[in-house]
């Protein structure tokens, strides 16, 4: 019987976790399964709900779902998983995707927090504005063209994607890519704003991933039809940033998990595979040195 070392063969089984402390985790797991059915045979995927540090440790990639960010952050702290989450995202720099509340938790800075604020995980050098469009009654859907989609068996990547915004945040400001790898100075002096604590990346590859610039992946025009009757929407600019990526950490304002459209999940799983392969090559090169 031949035993192949995991570092020399391409990734054969990739474990993707969905943080299951609160929110739409079950919906994400279902869409991940649908997405995996759309990808080619190798590698195989394993999907799991993550509630403990031990479960997180088994994951190659992680989704932080939509839900209520204050609740998720409090439950994470009480479940002793907030530290391991920061380690996962900011020290090991594993591929992570946050939707809605997940985007807030992945931001280095978030405003409109009330008494006591909330603990952020961090990982994206952006400032988010919580509940940017208002409360539940101001929630809306918009069919948008997202340039990064992959096709599924049912839907072409060129078709619009139904984006569901519920008490949604937006990226209000792209912060300087934090070369010093400290906390975002200046952000912690703003009133009603919380910042994520700084962490040191585990190795050279994690450092490279962390030092990438923030890319804007999608915007929503403030002239969009669903926003025309929204009186609370502050028209800061012509476009609101609703999806960003910095290296292998990705965040979006809306809830792909509340649709049955797996196209973003198909794309993201592809990105996870690439990230896992980069790490395997890095570790192999390191070992042979």
């Amino acid at each position: 019987m031949t035993v192949t070392s995991p570092a020399t063969s391409p990734a054969t089984c990739i474990t993707v976790g969905v943080l299951a402390l609160q929110g739409a985790f079950s919906e994400h797991v279902q869409l991940l399964r649908a997405a995996a059915a759309n990808t080619s045979s190798a590698p195989t995927f394993r999907f799991m709900e993550v509630r403990t540090p031990e479960q997180l440790q088994q994951c190659d990639g992680l989704i932080i779902p939509g839900g209520e960010s204050t609740t998720m952050s409090l439950v994470a702290a009480r479940s002793n998983i907030l530290g391991p989450l920061r380690e996962f995202v900011k020290v090991k720099r594993r591929p992570t995707w946050g939707t809605c509340a997940g985007l807030i938790l992945l931001a280095e800075s978030a405003n409109r927090t009330k008494k006591g604020g909330q603990d952020l995980i961090g990982g994206l050098d952006v400032r988010v504005n919580r509940n940017h469009f208002g409360r539940q009654t101001e929630s809306f859907q918009a069919n948008l063209h997202l340039p990064f989609l992959e096709s599924t068996k049912e839907t072409s990547k060129n078709d619009p994607y139904r984006c569901v915004f519920i008490r949604a945040p937006v990226v209000e400001k792209i912060l300087p890519s934090n070369k010093a790898l400290g906390i975002q100075e200046g952000e912690n002096e703003r009133a009603d704003t919380v910042v994520a604590p700084s962490k040191t990346p585990v190795d050279e590859l994690a450092k490279q991933e962390l030092e990438r610039e923030v890319e804007i992946m999608a915007t929503l025009s403030t002239n969009a039809e669903p926003l025309q009757e929204n009186q609370k929407h502050a028209h800061a600019g012509a476009e609101d940033i609703i999806a960003v990526r910095q290296g292998n950490v990705f965040g979006c304002s809306f809830h792909p998990e509340l649709t049955d459209d797996a196209r973003i999940h198909v794309w993201w799983l592809g990105e996870v595979v690439k990230a896992v392969e980069r790490r395997q090559q890095f570790e192999l090169a390191h070992r042979t040195k």
Binding site: E68, S79, T137
Partner: protein, 261 residues
């Protein structure tokens, strides 16, 4: 409905969404921003007072409350009808004792369902009964032929298409919470293990000895409902539980779960 001033103060204090109760059938308490043609079938008289004063019917939705619970805990306002919930932008949650009530409420536009249980008792037996009833009835529907499902829809007094969808999914087509009598972390985990998507707790927390500690413990129990170690840890040293009422000794007319049609 509670005093809107108090609801407003709560909304201003917390960053999480706020749910307010309205009486069964009391659509005026709910109306925040229904479609104008439903609110004003006739043109409004040009009364300057209505322009400056808040309109009396724009209550919970005007407050900007995030969800409405059309609740049997308050005295019902209508002995026959529930609120027609489709015209509202705000999502509604409604109580049920079984699949029939659940699907009737969903057909009326409820976006979420909860068990009725027996509110204010701290006795979980009714919540368990209602959840088990929903589960049993869905399991029964799952194994039925189309002809049998049509008869079952008639028996349950529900829409056939909605029943067929539920049978196909093997669960309610909306989220389903436990409510009415949950008082301990173990009660909450019990309801989650029975298949609920979340748990509502009111008096179980606020009438207990140490409300903050018990609230935290119940939240942990809901997230880690399958983790026996966490359940044991959070159940320790919680102080006095609420003084309960045994549902078995309640007179029929005292039961809140009977309200709703």
């Amino acid at each position: 409905m509670s005093d809107p001033k108090m609801i407003k103060e709560i909304m201003d204090t917390v960053t999480i969404p706020v749910m307010a109760k309205a009486r069964i059938g009391h659509f005026v308490e709910c109306q925040v921003r229904p479609f104008p043609h439903l609110l004003f079938p006739l043109p409004l008289p040009p009364n300057p007072a209505t322009l400056t004063n808040p309109l009396p019917h724009q209550i919970l939705e005007a407050l900007g409350v995030d969800y409405i619970d059309e609740s049997e805990v308050l005295t019902p306002a209508d002995a026959i009808h529930h609120v027609s919930k489709h015209p509202f932008r705000i999502p509604f949650v409604c109580g049920c004792r079984g699949l029939g009530e659940a699907l009737r409420r969903i057909a009326e536009g409820a976006a979420m369902i909860r068990t009725k249980g027996e509110a204010g008792t701290g006795d979980v037996i009714e919540a368990v009964r209602h959840m088990r009833t929903v589960n049993t009835e869905i399991a029964r529907a799952k194994n039925m032929s189309e002809e049998e499902l049509r008869v079952y829809a008639k028996d349950l007094q529900v829409d056939y298409v909605l029943l067929k969808e539920t049978a196909k999914l093997g669960r309610l087509p909306v989220v389903n919470f436990a409510a009415g009598g949950v008082a301990t972390p173990a009660d909450a985990a019990l309801m989650m293990q029975l298949g609920c998507d979340g748990v509502f707790v009111g008096s179980g927390i606020f009438k207990s000895g140490d409300a903050a500690k018990r609230a935290k413990a119940i939240v942990q129990a809901v997230t880690h409902f399958n983790d026996h170690k966490v359940l044991m840890e959070v159940s320790m040293d919680l102080g006095e539980a609420m003084v309960g009422i045994n549902c078995g000794t309640m007179a029929e007319e005292e039961r809140l779960a009977k309200r709703g049609w």
